[in-house]
Symmetry: none
Subunit: 206 residues, 4 copies
Amino acid sequence: MARPKNTDARRDEIIDGLMQVLAQCGYAKASVKRIAEAAGLAPGLVHYHFKNKLQILLALVERLAETTALRVETRVEQDSDPFAKLEAFLSAHLARGDDEDLAAVACWVAIGAEAQFNPEVAKVYRAALEDRHAHLTALIQDVIGRRKVATARAHATTLLAAIEGHYQLGTTTSLIPAGQAEKNIHALMRALFTGGAVRPSLQTSK
Amino acid sequence: MARPKNTDARRDEIIDGLMQVLAQCGYAKASVKRIAEAAGLAPGLVHYHFKNKLQILLALVERLAETTALRVETRVEQDSDPFAKLEAFLSAHLARGDDEDLAAVACWVAIGAEAQFNPEVAKVYRAALEDRHAHLTALIQDVIGRRKVATARAHATTLLAAIEGHYQLGTTTSLIPAGQAEKNIHALMRALFTGGAVRPSLQTSK
Amino acid sequence: MARPKNTDARRDEIIDGLMQVLAQCGYAKASVKRIAEAAGLAPGLVHYHFKNKLQILLALVERLAETTALRVETRVEQDSDPFAKLEAFLSAHLARGDDEDLAAVACWVAIGAEAQFNPEVAKVYRAALEDRHAHLTALIQDVIGRRKVATARAHATTLLAAIEGHYQLGTTTSLIPAGQAEKNIHALMRALFTGGAVRPSLQTSK
Amino acid sequence: MARPKNTDARRDEIIDGLMQVLAQCGYAKASVKRIAEAAGLAPGLVHYHFKNKLQILLALVERLAETTALRVETRVEQDSDPFAKLEAFLSAHLARGDDEDLAAVACWVAIGAEAQFNPEVAKVYRAALEDRHAHLTALIQDVIGRRKVATARAHATTLLAAIEGHYQLGTTTSLIPAGQAEKNIHALMRALFTGGAVRPSLQTSK
DNA sequence: GATGAATGAGACTTCATTCAT
DNA sequence: AATGAATGAAGTCTCATTCAT
């Protein structure tokens, strides 16, 4: 009798649409019209499922955060050695498989940019990063000792910053050829936690 | 009788205006009217001195790049020890003195965001980063040896990424209290180049 | 097997919904969605029972007119003295009992506003007022004499205008504290029909 | 050299435009496009001179209030007798000369409607009415005695309400033929202040 | 050089109405 | 009868850019 609800599916489609457009054009150019087009929907429908454009972005942030957290969790669980867990955490953030991963990174950078000036985006972006930071801190503590909270947090910050920095440079410059980000971060990690002088894998491209 | 030309001064004022607005609102909200207001000029005048809005941004990128390069150069020259020079380079990028420095960082992050999707901005942004990268690579080579080109470049990339990442996290999260960025980067540097296990200065804030 | 018809009940619910929304937001903001919400129904159902939004408003006007007419009739009948009947008529329009009365007045004012520019609303609004005017004229004639038709109509107009004016000022200004409207109109009536100088009940609030 | 300002003139034109459209279509249908058309301007220009549509309405309210206050003042001053002053006040509100007067009344009614649900409009509308009320109260006190503050205020309210009611009925019904409003209100006034039974001028129309 | 008005495109959003289920 | 999704038009507002003065 009654028409079955399809809101969740539509919302997902719209978020997908934003993800595509965001990765390609950035938030400023991500007009509702374009998002609807990318999702294959009528423009008016977008506002039936989302109160406004911002809500789509917030939903996307949460989706990305969850997806990443899930991926990280899956990989980290597969190792039992604390150091290996740490490596798994970092790899989960940097190993880029397919185009969707690339789009996700581009989106994440764009979201970080939007967070700089939009308080609501900032809120969820910060929350996601702080979760990540807390997780990373815990993993580091497992390596360097539970007592070293402050050190662990400082290292976590450094690593997160390095990751975000590689995202940024990776999407906008040619300083980071494919695969180099992961190598750099792992080298950085080894330097921080094994105390040995580091010799990162060679970087050949410009 | 011709009035004295003041084009350069006006251009500078306009660039200043953009810098203020950009640091506060981001590029999307940096309307010409707002820029003119911040510069204390009439809106129409902006397009007399710049072909379009984008040109102001490009000019700002160059100014920021030059200012930074100059500051770096000044500080690096004051040391003669290669390691100290390296430290000076990094400090020059992270030590935040006054509000203007903070605004400059906010602008730089905003510019990086814009570079993600605007090819012309990307071009100058990349050029600035590649200059910086080349400079940093050279300084690293002075520390680890001229032959180790690839290693030096990889380390340079890692450090630059960590710097940009600290900018990003610093402007959008509370993960990096004042002064922590510099400490983290120096600790990172020492880990990379002295081979000792690193104990960064304690980070107390959330 | 046919389901039992409940069209009339549904229509009433929808009219109730409009009444609530109209009293609170006015007709311009009374979207079908909001009306349906207030009525606890699905938006699509509204157009099943009403051809369009306007028809709901027209139905509401008639309901309010009928309700008022009924209330007036009931009260007027309870008195036998012509002057008392007149008083009853006026009281029936001004004595505000509960919240529903207040909402009804707010609606009536909003309807008057809509009638100014919407011919169909104007038609039913006018019809309601002319009925009221005719009734009032008759009651006045019972007081001042059957022959004085023109005088009676002029007084009726004056009284109706004063009533509508008190509605208007009451809903939008603080010039009319609770209870004052009735006192004013009764004083006005006495002045018109008893020829004595009038001393209305004191008005204390601003 | 510099372009001369014409903001005041343009603002007036836009307010004129709104006045025309408001009198004809009401506020809900008074789109910016229509207002601009009525004013003979490009739509975009409206927002150059007014922050938003509401500000035009607020400006119109103030203009109408000022115009009326001025007209009233002018007429009231011409008489020295307190009773005559009172008559002048009322006539100034009801005597409708030309089309512009009619438009002004239609606008005023529309504004009253808008004031019912828009707090900002309500504010200026109330202020205008309270000024009018204060003025009228003072004039009444000159007739019935300075001491009778409360009585004077109650009468003032009654008269203002009757005036607004005549506006309302006049714009939406055919109960008030031309000239009748003034007659009714004057009859009402005489009834209130001279104590004599009132025989208003005959009302012939339906 | 400088001012401020003017233009028109395009953004976000709301909404009455229709329709598939 | 009833539900809720879908559509497309229309509205308000912002803005880069142009232009008369």
